[in-house]
């Protein structure tokens, strides 16, 4: 089973040179730590910045410079600042190439639920609905099962959904899977030490296994 850091590390391998990328809060934020320095990429912050840099030193802290998680940040060379309408224009307009975000549930047809647990957590969707409705490539970082062992890869989402038919790829602590446009989780890779049978038994939705499934490489 992968740690959160290993999930982030595996997702970082999906990043391609020249991409503009939006990273969600949680595991997706960690992906930035593992992106190869050989790649020229730009990180978008939905509150109005292209070119997120590392966290600041104590001396560099600027309250007027935060990311979407409200953390203090710095800017890389060549950064640009803009307003929230412009920020979502570039998101909805398809100019952001890759969106990486967390999920509570994903369904076999690519629906995602990650914003609301009725009666329990009603904090709001922030920018998640705009992102999932628009990005050409959405990768989800999540745990395969809930704490009580229930599958979070389902036939259909039980929680209020954030977007329909939008997820392309999922990296969990057990596996890398892709969504079949016809419906189903196509198993692509398994975590070290995790068997295909383990993954099948922890996936409630339809799972598609074609031939030998390799172990992940990092």
């Amino acid at each position: 089973m992968l740690t959160k850091q290993q999930i982030a590390q595996r997702i970082a391998k999906e990043v391609k040179n020249g991409q503009y990328i939006n990273l969600g809060i949680g595991i997706p934020t960690l992906v930035a730590n593992y992106i190869s320095e050989d790649l020229e990429i730009v990180l978008q912050s939905e509150n109005g910045l292209l070119g997120i840099g590392p966290f600041p030193t104590e001396e560099q802290i600027d309250p007027d410079l935060i990311n979407a998680g409200k953390q203090t940040i710095t800017m890389v060379k060549g950064s640009v600042l803009f307003n929230s309408a412009e920020s979502f224009a570039m998101i909805r307009g398809g100019h952001v190439h890759l969106t990486i975000l967390g999920a509570m549930e994903v369904s076999e047809n690519g629906d995602i639920a990650n914003w609301k647990i009725p009666g329990k957590m009603v904090k709001g969707m922030g920018g998640a609905m705009d992102l999932v409705a628009s990005a050409e490539n959405i990768i989800v970082a999540m745990q395969h099962c809930s704490r009580s062992g229930e599958s979070k890869l389902l036939k259909s989402c039980s929680l209020p959904i954030t977007g329909i038919r939008c997820v392309k790829k999922i990296v969990t602590d057990m596996a890398v899977l892709e969504i079949d446009p016809e419906g189903g989780f196509i198993l692509k890779e398994r975590a070290p030490g995790v068997s295909v049978e383990d993954i099948k038994s922890k996936t409630e939705g339809k799972i598609i296994v074609n031939g030998e499934i390799p172990e992940m490489e990092f």
């Binding site: 912050s45 939905e46 509150n47 109005g48 910045l49 590392p54 966290f55 600041p56 030193t57 104590e58 802290i61 600027d62 309250p63 007027d64 410079l65 935060i66 990311n67 998680g69 409200k70 953390q71 203090t72 940040i73 600042l81 803009f82 307003n83 929230s84 309408a85 920020s87 979502f88 224009a89 998101i91 909805r92 629906d111 009603v122 904090k123 709001g124 969707m125 922030g126 920018g127 998640a128 609905m129 705009d130 409705a133 628009s134 209020p160 959904i161 954030t162 977007g163 329909i164």
Partner: protein
């Protein structure tokens, strides 16, 4: 040049009455109109509707207005950092409209730009789409959203001039420019107010035509929600 200057925050918010529909700039606690919020706390008003991406924290920003039960309804995208907010919501004292962040930004932008409605893909197939017109364009589904316009927009900028022209700094810009344009009365508080003519016209983000009142704020706290440093 028309002079938009008022003396201070108290004078700027003097005629905001109970039941007013307000917009407040800011993302988290960054770029919020701190001085105007403080001045509102001294007014005996209630039943405010506030459009703001977030709702502050318990003891700062819009959270202070919530503590004093001055707010009837919030229109926001994410409200997760505020226990008093949650209490009032669950007890039914407070109404909340949760809106996708890009839709919120565009509804405000549309309000200022005279566009009464538009179609967006955000929220199609979700509970956000309930009761809204859905249309297909070029093979993809979109839902219709309406503009938002305010009685008063309270915005915060870095620098401004007496003509109401504004320059923002960093990610404190966020919703402020669209809200400035969407207000019947827009009140701008700035860290530094200069005479008209001193700002470089090439560098101005919000033209003064959108601003009715401007003043130089004081004692900015600029509280940081998630102070994060390099390890």
């Amino acid at each position: 040049m028309i002079n938009k200057t008022v003396k201070d925050a108290n004078e700027a918010v003097r005629d905001i009455a109970s039941g007013a529909f307000l917009m407040m700039g800011g993302f988290g606690l960054s770029g919020i109109p701190e001085n105007c919020i403080s001045a509102l706390l001294h007014r005996d008003i209630k039943d405010l509707t506030i459009v703001s991406n977030n709702a502050g924290v318990d003891d700062f920003g819009i959270g202070l207005l919530l503590q004093k039960r001055m707010v009837k309804k919030m229109i926001s995208s994410y409200v997760g950092e505020n226990a008093e907010f949650e209490r009032q919501l669950l007890s039914g004292e407070l109404e909340v409209d949760l809106i996708p962040q890009g839709t919120l930004a565009e509804r405000v932008r549309a309000g200022g730009a005279g566009i009464p409605a538009f179609f967006t893909p955000a929220g199609v197939g979700t509970e956000v789409a309930e009761g809204k017109e859905i249309r297909e364009f070029d093979g993809k589904l979109y839902l219709m959203e309406r503009w938002l316009r305010s009685d008063f927009s309270l915005v915060k900028a870095w620098k401004g001039d007496t003509a109401g022209n504004l320059i923002f700094k960093g990610t404190a810009r966020n919703f402020n420019p669209m809200m400035a344009a969407a207000g019947k009365i827009t009140i701008a508080e700035v860290e530094e107010l200069v005479p008209a003519g001193e700002l470089d016209p090439n560098q101005i983000h919000t033209p003064g035509i959108y601003v009715q009142r401007i003043f130089e704020g004081k004692n900015y706290e600029k509280r940081i929600e998630q102070r994060t440093v390099r390890s």
